[in-house]
Structures are given as structure tokens and as C-alpha cells.
Amino acid sequence: MARSSAPSEEQLRDWLVSKVAAVLGMRAPDVDVSKDLEAYGLGSRELVELSGELEEFIGCELSPTLAFDYPSIASLVRILKKEIVTRSDS
């Protein structure tokens, strides 16, 4: 379900880490946020699905190629924070 308020940077990072850990069968603390998701073995399908689930989490539409353009959790969090701030400003 869409959230009523924009998630914080920390919430975004935690959400992404737990998603990626679940897909990879890893423990959340072992996920390196600076590592490319493709290098972790996530395929195109998982990357498109990830941005779809992110849409639901954040409550706004995202490009289906977001996780290709911003390939690590850290870069995703950065762009999402920027996007959310831009959108709420406009």
C-alpha cells in the first residue's frame, strides 16, 4: 500500500536492504549498499520488479529502469530522496 508520508532516507535504505537480502537469501547486515545489484546477481526481471515494489512503498510512479540507472542501494536512496523532495516541492 502507498504510504501517507514520504519515507526518510533511513527507511528507504532499510526497506531496500531487506528486499535485496530476501531476494538473495542473505542476512540484511551483510548487504553492501554500495555494491551494484547486478553484481549481486539480480537479473533484469528482479530489477524491474524492485522499482515496481518501490512505487508501492513510496506511493509515486517510478521509471521501470530506475534500478538500471541507479544500480546500487546507496545510489537508489540518493536519487529517490532527490525525487521525493522535487515532487513534493512541485
Binding site: 533484469s44 526481471r45 524491474v48 520488479e49 522499482s51 515496481g52 529502469t65
Partner: protein
């Protein structure tokens, strides 16, 4: 007439699985003419509507196949009849014949009761026209001309049979305009392709080189365009319209199918954005001294 051939394309049952979900459902996200393929946008037109871009696409193929004012035109994979309607109402075509494998599409076209429009539920490989056609158009059907799991050679053979049939049905000097999604920067058979596994069963899209190889000696390729950006805009429109009409969609087809289409549009968009799929538009001219036996 042609000898019987083995058609390697999507079966009628698999076509029905996708296209017979319900006409009212498709109407929720398609344009007013129910065109279910990439539209053609003009960048000079600000905020162009889907209706307008789809009509430009129809007119483009009519122009490329020189169908305007023609006596007889064939539309292979006619969908819900948008092209057939445009041919007889705007372009003064005397008889526009459409082929589809979807019973619901046939119902839809018959209900329009357009003078000069004829629709048949049959595959191109079963088609046998009484008279030759002046032009042939096929938009969004070539994707269904080969099943997954075939070797390249078998796919090309199937496409070649299609061209051979079209050659036989067309008058000398006749033109054909095709539009299809094609495989881009991706290995064929890559696993985990949501769209082909969940949405379009028994479907495997062509590579441009396969379409070109198959045409050698039968049709000369006069023009090729890759307009994948057009499908990005079209797909965004499809998805936005589906989401705007979400409760109606769920009522018509249930949440599982509505969600599947929402996902399908996202995956489809990703493919066109990444260039793993392309949108090809080909203009072909019949070779009047053909070489069906040419060495490929």
C-alpha cells in the same frame, strides 16, 4: 495456390488467452480506435494525445503500403479493426479484409458493421483470397509468427512462408507495410522474461536480421525504422489509463489479471527503454521476378 505449410506461430488458444480477456477491459486503456500497438508521435506536436498518435500510425502504414484509394487491402492481425475502419472511412478503400485469431475481436469488428470491412478468424497460413490485393498491412502480428524454442532457421523459414504467401496475394508491384516488436540487445531465450512467460504465451519476437533474411528474393526492403521511443510513450499511456480506470478494470477481469497487465506495461516499458526490445516499421515492395529458392 500454396501448398500446405507448417505454421510455427502462436496457436489460436494462446492468442485467445491474451486477446479474449474482454473487449471492455481493453477499451479502458486503448485509444478510441482500439489500437493495441506502438503509436507514432510527432515531436513537433505538444502533448499529443494517444488518439492522434495512433491515427498517425495507421495513416503511416496506409501511406507506406500505398493503400489509400485502393480497391482491396489485407490487414494481417487486424486487432479490433482500427486499421480496417480507417481504410474504408478515411482512405476510400473499397474492401478491407482483416485476419485475426481472436473471436472477441471478430465480434467487435462485426458489431461496428462497417460497409467494405470483412473480418475472418483465420491464420495467414489458412488464408486464400478470391482476388489479389493492392496492398498488405500487418501491425503487431509478426510477434506471433514464431513460437519460442525454435532454431533461427525454423523461424526464418516460417517468416519466409509468410512473405511467400503475401507475395502470392499481392498484385505485381504491390507494397506491404509491417510493424512489429523485435528483439534488441538481449540474448534470445533469456530466462525470466515476464512478458513472454506470463502475458504472451507461445510468442517469440523476431530479430531484424531474421525478418530481412526471410524476405530475400521475395520482397525488397525499402525502408526500416526503429521507433522504440514511440512505444515508450504509448506504453506509458496504456499504463496511466489502466491505473486511472483501476476499479473498473478489477471489476471486469479481477485483481490478478489487472495487476498482471500493470506489471506487463512496466516490463514492456523497461524493454523499450533499455533497447532489449525495439519497434520496427518496415516498408516492403513485392519483387515481381522473385527468387523463392535463393541461397540465404
Amino acid at each position: 495456390m500454396n501448398q500446405t505449410i507448417e505454421n510455427p506461430g502462436t496457436s489460436k488458444a494462446a492468442i485467445s488467452y491474451h486477446y479474449d480477456i474482454g473487449n471492455d477491459f481493453y477499451r479502458l486503456f486503448l485509444d478510441r480506435n482500439c489500437c493495441y500497438s506502438g503509436a507514432m508521435y510527432d515531436e513537433a506536436v505538444e502533448n499529443e494525445s494517444l488518439d492522434s498518435a495512433q491515427e498517425r500510425k495507421l495513416d503511416y502504414h496506409i501511406h507506406e503500403s500505398k493503400a489509400s484509394g485502393a480497391k482491396r487491402v489485407l490487414d494481417v492481425g487486424c486487432g479490433w479493426g482500427g486499421m480496417l475502419k480507417r481504410l474504408v472511412t478515411v482512405h476510400r478503400v473499397a474492401l478491407a479484409t482483416g485476419l485475426t485469431l481472436s473471436a472477441r475481436q471478430e465480434d467487435y469488428i462485426r458489431a461496428m458493421a462497417l460497409p467494405g470491412v470483412e473480418v475472418r478468424v483465420e491464420s495467414w497460413s489458412d488464408h486464400s483470397p478470391g482476388e489479389l490485393y493492392d496492398s498488405i498491412i500487418s501491425v503487431g502480428a509478426f510477434e506471433h509468427f514464431a513460437k519460442p524454442g525454435l532454431e533461427r532457421e525454423a523461424r526464418v523459414r516460417g517468416y519466409r512462408d509468410f512473405y511467400r504467401y503475401c507475395h502470392e496475394w499481392l498484385k505485381p508491384g504491390g507494397w506491404m507495410s509491417l510493424q512489429t516488436i523485435g528483439l534488441g540487445a538481449l540474448d534470445r531465450g533469456t530466462r525470466g522474461q515476464f512478458v513472454f512467460e506470463r502475458v504472451f504465451p507461445e510468442t517469440d519476437i523476431p530479430r531484424l536480421g531474421e525478418m530481412a533474411d526471410a524476405a530475400e528474393g521475395i520482397f525488397e526492403i525499402v525502408k526500416v525504422r526503429n521507433d522504440r521511443m514511440d512505444y515508450i510513450r504509448t506504453g506509458r499511456e496504456f499504463r496511466a489509463r489502466l491505473r486511472q480506470n483501476w476499479s473498473a478494470a478489477v471489476k471486469l477481469v479481477g485483481e490478478e489479471i489487472a495487476n498482471r497487465y500493470d506489471q506487463y506495461f512496466r516490463f514492456s516499458l523497461a524493454g523499450f527503454e533499455l533497447g532489449t526490445t525495439n519497434l520496427y516499421r518496415l516498408t516492403l515492395r513485392r519483387i515481381d521476378r522473385p527468387r523463392f529458392d535463393i541461397r540465404l
